[in-house]
Protein backbone atom coordinates (compact mmCIF):
# COMPACT_ATOMS: atom_id res chain seq x y z
CA UNK A 1 0.00 0.00 0.00
CA UNK A 2 1.35 3.35 -0.95
CA UNK A 3 1.33 6.03 1.72
CA UNK A 4 -0.40 9.13 0.41
CA UNK A 5 1.99 12.01 -0.02
CA UNK A 6 1.31 14.93 2.33
CA UNK A 7 -0.51 17.62 0.45
CA UNK A 8 0.78 21.15 0.54
CA UNK A 9 -0.29 23.54 3.23
CA UNK A 10 -2.12 25.96 1.00
CA UNK A 11 -3.80 23.27 -1.07
CA UNK A 12 -5.06 21.62 2.09
CA UNK A 13 -6.26 24.98 3.35
CA UNK A 14 -8.18 25.66 0.16
CA UNK A 15 -9.73 22.19 0.18
CA UNK A 16 -10.91 22.74 3.74
CA UNK A 17 -12.13 26.23 2.90
CA UNK A 18 -14.10 24.77 0.01
CA UNK A 19 -15.66 22.24 2.36
CA UNK A 20 -16.69 24.91 4.86
CA UNK A 21 -18.09 27.16 2.16
CA UNK A 22 -20.01 24.24 0.68
CA UNK A 23 -21.58 23.46 4.06
CA UNK A 24 -22.39 27.13 4.48
CA UNK A 25 -23.86 27.39 1.00
CA UNK A 26 -26.02 24.28 1.39
CA UNK A 27 -27.64 25.45 4.59
CA UNK A 28 -27.11 29.21 4.53
CA UNK A 29 -28.34 29.06 8.12
CA UNK A 30 -25.39 30.89 9.60
CA UNK A 31 -25.34 33.80 7.19
CA UNK A 32 -29.11 34.27 7.43
CA UNK A 33 -29.01 34.34 11.20
CA UNK A 34 -26.07 36.72 11.18
CA UNK A 35 -27.69 39.12 8.75
CA UNK A 36 -30.84 39.36 10.84
CA UNK A 37 -28.88 39.65 14.04
CA UNK A 38 -26.71 42.50 12.81
CA UNK A 39 -29.61 44.25 11.11
CA UNK A 40 -31.44 44.33 14.40
CA UNK A 41 -28.26 45.60 16.05
CA UNK A 42 -28.14 48.49 13.59
CA UNK A 43 -31.81 49.21 14.22
CA UNK A 44 -31.29 49.09 17.96
CA UNK A 45 -28.55 51.69 17.73
CA UNK A 46 -30.90 54.09 16.02
CA UNK A 47 -33.65 53.40 18.57
CA UNK A 48 -31.35 53.73 21.55
CA UNK A 49 -29.96 57.04 20.34
CA UNK A 50 -33.26 58.59 19.42
CA UNK A 51 -34.09 60.53 16.31
CA UNK A 52 -30.84 62.45 16.07
CA UNK A 53 -29.99 61.77 12.44
CA UNK A 54 -26.86 63.82 12.57
CA UNK A 55 -25.46 61.75 15.41
CA UNK A 56 -26.27 58.51 13.59
CA UNK A 57 -24.68 59.77 10.43
CA UNK A 58 -21.54 60.89 12.18
CA UNK A 59 -21.02 57.63 14.05
CA UNK A 60 -22.26 55.26 11.36
CA UNK A 61 -18.83 53.70 10.81
CA UNK A 62 -18.49 52.80 14.45
CA UNK A 63 -21.97 51.30 14.64
CA UNK A 64 -21.37 49.22 11.53
CA UNK A 65 -18.22 47.73 13.04
CA UNK A 66 -19.91 47.06 16.36
CA UNK A 67 -22.68 45.21 14.54
CA UNK A 68 -20.10 43.16 12.62
CA UNK A 69 -18.14 42.50 15.81
CA UNK A 70 -21.18 41.23 17.73
CA UNK A 71 -22.16 39.05 14.80
CA UNK A 72 -18.60 37.75 14.49
CA UNK A 73 -18.57 36.33 18.02
CA UNK A 74 -21.67 34.32 17.13
CA UNK A 75 -20.37 33.18 13.78
CA UNK A 76 -16.87 32.20 14.90
CA UNK A 77 -18.09 30.21 17.85
CA UNK A 78 -20.42 28.41 15.47
CA UNK A 79 -17.63 27.64 12.99
CA UNK A 80 -15.95 25.42 15.57
CA UNK A 81 -19.08 24.11 17.19
CA UNK A 82 -20.00 22.31 13.96
CA UNK A 83 -16.58 20.66 14.02
CA UNK A 84 -16.74 19.57 17.63
CA UNK A 85 -20.14 17.99 17.08
CA UNK A 86 -19.68 14.39 16.00
CA UNK A 87 -15.94 14.83 16.65
CA UNK A 88 -15.35 16.15 13.14
CA UNK A 89 -12.27 18.00 14.32
CA UNK A 90 -10.63 14.72 15.27
CA UNK A 91 -11.31 13.48 11.78
CA UNK A 92 -9.71 16.59 10.33
CA UNK A 93 -6.65 16.15 12.46
CA UNK A 94 -6.30 12.51 11.45
CA UNK A 95 -6.39 13.47 7.79
CA UNK A 96 -2.94 14.12 6.35
CA UNK A 97 -3.43 17.86 6.65
CA UNK A 98 -1.58 20.34 8.78
CA UNK A 99 -3.32 21.94 11.76
CA UNK A 100 -2.16 25.23 10.32
CA UNK A 101 -4.17 24.48 7.21
CA UNK A 102 -7.23 24.24 9.45
CA UNK A 103 -6.39 27.67 10.85
CA UNK A 104 -5.97 29.21 7.41
CA UNK A 105 -9.18 27.64 6.17
CA UNK A 106 -11.25 28.67 9.17
CA UNK A 107 -9.82 32.18 9.31
CA UNK A 108 -10.36 32.72 5.59
CA UNK A 109 -13.86 31.29 5.85
CA UNK A 110 -14.69 33.62 8.72
CA UNK A 111 -13.23 36.57 6.85
CA UNK A 112 -15.32 35.82 3.79
CA UNK A 113 -18.45 35.44 5.86
CA UNK A 114 -17.85 38.75 7.65
CA UNK A 115 -17.07 40.55 4.40
CA UNK A 116 -20.29 39.19 2.91
CA UNK A 117 -22.15 40.32 6.00
CA UNK A 118 -20.61 43.77 5.81
CA UNK A 119 -21.42 44.00 2.12
CA UNK A 120 -25.07 43.31 2.91
CA UNK A 121 -25.16 45.71 5.84
CA UNK A 122 -23.64 48.76 4.15
CA UNK A 123 -26.55 49.42 1.75
CA UNK A 124 -28.97 49.04 4.63
CA UNK A 125 -26.92 51.45 6.69
CA UNK A 126 -26.80 53.95 3.86
CA UNK A 127 -30.58 53.89 3.77
CA UNK A 128 -31.18 53.72 7.50
CA UNK A 129 -28.70 56.33 8.73
CA UNK A 130 -28.64 58.49 5.64
CA UNK A 131 -24.91 58.34 5.11
CA UNK A 132 -23.06 58.91 1.86
CA UNK A 133 -20.04 56.96 0.72
CA UNK A 134 -17.87 59.98 0.00
CA UNK A 135 -14.63 58.25 -0.98
CA UNK A 136 -16.21 55.65 -3.26
CA UNK A 137 -16.51 51.90 -3.31
CA UNK A 138 -12.82 50.97 -3.57
CA UNK A 139 -11.66 52.32 -0.19
CA UNK A 140 -14.91 51.05 1.32
CA UNK A 141 -14.21 47.47 0.27
CA UNK A 142 -10.57 47.75 1.31
CA UNK A 143 -11.60 48.90 4.79
CA UNK A 144 -14.14 46.12 5.04
CA UNK A 145 -11.69 43.43 3.95
CA UNK A 146 -8.81 44.58 6.16
CA UNK A 147 -11.06 45.01 9.18
CA UNK A 148 -12.73 41.63 8.76
CA UNK A 149 -9.35 39.94 8.39
CA UNK A 150 -8.16 41.58 11.59
CA UNK A 151 -11.27 40.32 13.39
CA UNK A 152 -11.18 36.84 11.92
CA UNK A 153 -7.60 35.76 12.70
CA UNK A 154 -7.59 36.21 16.49
CA UNK A 155 -11.26 35.31 16.55
CA UNK A 156 -10.51 31.93 14.99
CA UNK A 157 -7.82 31.10 17.54
CA UNK A 158 -9.94 32.19 20.47
CA UNK A 159 -13.08 30.52 19.12
CA UNK A 160 -11.20 27.23 18.95
CA UNK A 161 -10.30 27.69 22.60
CA UNK A 162 -13.61 29.01 23.83
CA UNK A 163 -15.88 26.58 22.02
CA UNK A 164 -14.23 23.77 23.93
CA UNK A 165 -14.39 25.38 27.35
CA UNK A 166 -17.01 25.90 29.97
CA UNK A 167 -19.04 29.11 29.65
CA UNK A 168 -17.94 29.42 26.04
CA UNK A 169 -20.47 32.11 25.18
CA UNK A 170 -18.97 34.40 27.80
CA UNK A 171 -15.38 33.45 27.21
CA UNK A 172 -15.05 34.30 23.53
CA UNK A 173 -16.06 37.98 23.85
CA UNK A 174 -14.07 38.25 27.05
CA UNK A 175 -10.89 37.13 25.32
CA UNK A 176 -11.50 38.62 21.91
CA UNK A 177 -12.85 42.11 22.60
CA UNK A 178 -9.82 43.57 24.37
CA UNK A 179 -7.47 42.08 21.83
CA UNK A 180 -9.12 43.55 18.78
CA UNK A 181 -9.71 47.02 20.22
CA UNK A 182 -6.85 48.55 18.17
CA UNK A 183 -8.04 46.90 14.97
CA UNK A 184 -11.65 47.85 15.67
CA UNK A 185 -10.61 51.43 16.37
CA UNK A 186 -8.65 51.60 13.13
CA UNK A 187 -11.48 50.01 11.12
CA UNK A 188 -14.10 52.32 12.60
CA UNK A 189 -11.99 55.42 12.01
CA UNK A 190 -11.17 54.36 8.47
CA UNK A 191 -14.84 53.65 7.79
CA UNK A 192 -15.84 57.06 9.12
CA UNK A 193 -13.30 58.69 6.84
CA UNK A 194 -14.63 56.69 3.90
CA UNK A 195 -18.17 57.77 4.70
CA UNK A 196 -17.49 61.40 5.54
CA UNK A 197 -14.44 62.36 3.58
CA UNK A 198 -10.86 62.56 4.66
CA UNK A 199 -9.84 66.14 5.48
CA UNK A 200 -6.48 65.31 7.00
CA UNK A 201 -5.40 62.53 4.58
CA UNK A 202 -5.34 59.96 7.34
CA UNK A 203 -6.90 57.03 5.53
CA UNK A 204 -3.63 55.48 4.40
CA UNK A 205 -2.21 55.67 7.90
CA UNK A 206 -5.21 53.82 9.30
CA UNK A 207 -4.78 51.24 6.55
CA UNK A 208 -1.13 50.90 7.55
CA UNK A 209 -2.11 50.35 11.17
CA UNK A 210 -4.73 47.78 10.14
CA UNK A 211 -2.19 46.06 7.91
CA UNK A 212 0.32 45.93 10.76
CA UNK A 213 -2.18 44.41 13.15
CA UNK A 214 -3.23 41.93 10.48
CA UNK A 215 0.37 40.77 10.12
CA UNK A 216 0.68 40.37 13.89
CA UNK A 217 -2.60 38.53 14.30
CA UNK A 218 -2.23 36.22 11.31
CA UNK A 219 1.41 35.44 12.07
CA UNK A 220 0.80 34.66 15.73
CA UNK A 221 -2.42 32.79 15.03
CA UNK A 222 -0.76 30.70 12.37
CA UNK A 223 2.17 29.86 14.64
CA UNK A 224 0.13 29.12 17.76
CA UNK A 225 -3.01 27.48 16.39
CA UNK A 226 -1.62 23.91 16.17
CA UNK A 227 -1.04 23.99 19.92
CA UNK A 228 -4.60 25.10 20.53
CA UNK A 229 -6.33 22.15 18.91
CA UNK A 230 -3.85 19.44 19.79
CA UNK A 231 -4.82 16.96 22.44
Amino acid sequence: MKRPAPIGLFRAAFVLLGKDLLIEWRTRARLNALVFFSLSTLLLFSFALGPDTKLLERNAGGYLWLAILFASTLSMGESFRIEYENACLDGLRLAPADARAIFLAKAMGNTLLLVALGGLLIPVMVALYGVKVVLGVGPLLATLALGCMALAAPGTVYAAIASNARARDVLLPLLLFPLIVPALLASAKAMMLVLQGDPMNQLNSWFGLLGGFNLIYWGLGFALFPRVIED
Binding site: Q196, P199, G208, L209, G211, L215, W218, L220, F222, A223
Partner: protein
Protein backbone atom coordinates in the same frame (compact mmCIF):
# COMPACT_ATOMS: atom_id res chain seq x y z
CA UNK B 1 13.99 18.59 4.13
CA UNK B 2 12.54 16.65 7.02
CA UNK B 3 9.03 17.48 8.16
CA UNK B 4 10.35 18.64 11.53
CA UNK B 5 12.79 21.08 9.96
CA UNK B 6 10.08 22.26 7.62
CA UNK B 7 7.72 22.85 10.51
CA UNK B 8 10.38 24.82 12.34
CA UNK B 9 10.94 26.92 9.24
CA UNK B 10 7.23 27.63 8.88
CA UNK B 11 7.06 28.58 12.56
CA UNK B 12 9.98 30.96 12.25
CA UNK B 13 8.46 32.44 9.12
CA UNK B 14 5.12 33.04 10.88
CA UNK B 15 6.82 34.68 13.83
CA UNK B 16 8.80 36.88 11.47
CA UNK B 17 5.55 37.97 9.87
CA UNK B 18 4.19 38.87 13.31
CA UNK B 19 7.38 40.77 14.12
CA UNK B 20 7.12 42.62 10.84
CA UNK B 21 3.59 43.62 11.82
CA UNK B 22 4.83 45.04 15.10
CA UNK B 23 7.55 46.89 13.22
CA UNK B 24 4.98 48.38 10.85
CA UNK B 25 2.91 49.57 13.79
CA UNK B 26 6.02 50.97 15.44
CA UNK B 27 8.05 52.51 12.69
CA UNK B 28 5.63 52.75 9.75
CA UNK B 29 5.42 56.54 10.07
CA UNK B 30 1.88 55.95 11.21
CA UNK B 31 2.31 58.06 14.30
CA UNK B 32 3.08 61.15 12.23
CA UNK B 33 -0.42 61.21 10.89
CA UNK B 34 -2.69 59.45 13.37
CA UNK B 35 -2.18 61.87 16.15
CA UNK B 36 -4.00 62.36 19.37
CA UNK B 37 -4.06 66.09 18.69
CA UNK B 38 -3.29 68.56 15.92
CA UNK B 39 -1.08 71.58 16.21
CA UNK B 40 -2.62 74.96 15.30
CA UNK B 41 -0.39 75.20 12.23
CA UNK B 42 -1.56 71.81 10.96
CA UNK B 43 -5.19 72.63 11.63
CA UNK B 44 -5.07 76.04 9.97
CA UNK B 45 -3.24 74.45 7.05
CA UNK B 46 -6.31 72.35 6.33
CA UNK B 47 -8.37 75.46 5.62
CA UNK B 48 -12.11 74.92 5.46
CA UNK B 49 -11.83 71.17 5.80
CA UNK B 50 -11.19 71.59 9.52
CA UNK B 51 -14.55 73.29 10.12
CA UNK B 52 -17.11 71.10 11.78
CA UNK B 53 -15.74 67.81 13.08
CA UNK B 54 -14.71 67.41 16.69
CA UNK B 55 -10.94 67.64 16.87
CA UNK B 56 -8.27 67.96 19.50
CA UNK B 57 -5.92 70.88 19.26
CA UNK B 58 -2.63 70.87 21.08
CA UNK B 59 0.03 73.50 21.60
CA UNK B 60 1.25 76.00 24.12
CA UNK B 61 -0.71 78.82 25.68
CA UNK B 62 0.45 82.05 24.06
CA UNK B 63 1.90 84.26 26.79
CA UNK B 64 -0.34 87.11 27.79
CA UNK B 65 -3.39 85.81 25.93
CA UNK B 66 -5.40 84.39 28.82
CA UNK B 67 -8.69 86.14 29.52
CA UNK B 68 -10.58 84.52 32.32
CA UNK B 69 -14.02 85.64 33.30
CA UNK B 70 -15.02 83.87 36.49
CA UNK B 71 -18.55 85.25 36.50
CA UNK B 72 -19.43 84.05 33.05
CA UNK B 73 -17.22 81.00 33.41
CA UNK B 74 -15.64 81.52 30.03
CA UNK B 75 -12.00 81.39 29.30
CA UNK B 76 -10.35 82.78 26.20
CA UNK B 77 -6.77 82.19 25.24
CA UNK B 78 -4.57 81.63 22.21
CA UNK B 79 -2.98 78.27 21.52
CA UNK B 80 0.27 78.59 19.60
CA UNK B 81 2.19 75.85 17.84
CA UNK B 82 5.33 76.40 19.86
CA UNK B 83 7.15 78.93 21.97
CA UNK B 84 8.55 81.02 19.10
CA UNK B 85 6.76 84.39 19.08
CA UNK B 86 5.57 84.30 15.48
CA UNK B 87 4.14 80.77 15.37
CA UNK B 88 0.60 80.15 14.20
CA UNK B 89 -2.03 80.47 16.87
CA UNK B 90 -5.76 79.93 17.29
CA UNK B 91 -8.18 81.66 19.65
CA UNK B 92 -9.85 79.14 21.96
CA UNK B 93 -13.08 79.68 23.87
CA UNK B 94 -13.32 77.15 26.67
CA UNK B 95 -16.15 76.37 29.05
CA UNK B 96 -14.08 73.95 31.06
CA UNK B 97 -12.48 74.71 34.41
CA UNK B 98 -8.72 74.72 33.90
CA UNK B 99 -6.53 72.61 36.16
CA UNK B 100 -4.21 74.35 38.58
CA UNK B 101 -1.14 74.21 36.35
CA UNK B 102 -2.82 76.13 33.55
CA UNK B 103 -0.79 79.27 32.89
CA UNK B 104 1.08 81.18 30.19
CA UNK B 105 3.39 79.06 28.09
CA UNK B 106 2.25 75.64 29.30
CA UNK B 107 1.29 72.83 26.92
CA UNK B 108 -2.45 72.30 26.50
CA UNK B 109 -4.76 70.02 24.54
CA UNK B 110 -8.30 71.24 23.93
CA UNK B 111 -11.14 69.22 22.47
CA UNK B 112 -13.84 70.91 20.46
CA UNK B 113 -14.81 72.33 17.10
CA UNK B 114 -13.44 74.99 14.82
CA UNK B 115 -15.56 77.13 12.55
CA UNK B 116 -15.63 80.04 10.17
CA UNK B 117 -15.37 82.63 12.92
CA UNK B 118 -11.83 81.31 13.54
CA UNK B 119 -12.70 80.57 17.17
CA UNK B 120 -12.09 77.09 18.52
CA UNK B 121 -15.00 76.25 20.85
CA UNK B 122 -13.80 73.76 23.41
CA UNK B 123 -15.59 71.87 26.13
CA UNK B 124 -12.63 69.91 27.41
CA UNK B 125 -9.29 71.32 28.39
CA UNK B 126 -6.26 69.27 29.32
CA UNK B 127 -2.85 70.44 30.41
CA UNK B 128 0.07 68.62 28.89
CA UNK B 129 2.79 68.23 31.43
CA UNK B 130 6.37 67.61 30.39
CA UNK B 131 8.45 64.83 31.86
CA UNK B 132 10.41 67.26 33.97
CA UNK B 133 10.07 67.27 37.71
CA UNK B 134 11.97 69.96 39.57
CA UNK B 135 12.16 71.13 43.11
CA UNK B 136 11.05 74.72 43.56
CA UNK B 137 13.80 77.25 43.18
CA UNK B 138 14.80 79.17 46.27
CA UNK B 139 12.05 81.58 47.12
CA UNK B 140 9.40 79.78 45.14
CA UNK B 141 6.47 78.48 47.11
CA UNK B 142 4.55 75.97 45.01
CA UNK B 143 1.71 75.65 47.48
CA UNK B 144 0.88 79.31 46.96
CA UNK B 145 1.86 79.54 43.34
CA UNK B 146 -1.58 80.65 42.17
CA UNK B 147 -1.14 84.07 43.67
CA UNK B 148 1.90 84.77 41.58
CA UNK B 149 0.42 83.98 38.23
CA UNK B 150 -2.51 86.08 37.37
CA UNK B 151 -4.69 88.55 39.14
CA UNK B 152 -8.15 87.59 37.98
CA UNK B 153 -7.57 83.92 38.59
CA UNK B 154 -6.22 84.43 42.04
CA UNK B 155 -9.34 86.14 43.20
CA UNK B 156 -11.60 83.34 42.13
CA UNK B 157 -9.26 80.59 43.22
CA UNK B 158 -8.81 81.87 46.71
CA UNK B 159 -12.44 82.80 46.89
CA UNK B 160 -13.41 79.22 46.29
CA UNK B 161 -11.54 77.94 49.26
Amino acid sequence: MTPVARNRLILVGALLVAGAGLAVVAFGKIGDNLVYYWSPAEMLGQGEKAYGPTIRLGGVVKPGSIQWNAEHTTLHFHVATDHTPGSASVLVRSTEVPPQMFRDGIGVVVEGTFDKSQVFASNRLMVNHSNEYRAPKPGEEPRKWQETVEGSTTASATGAQ
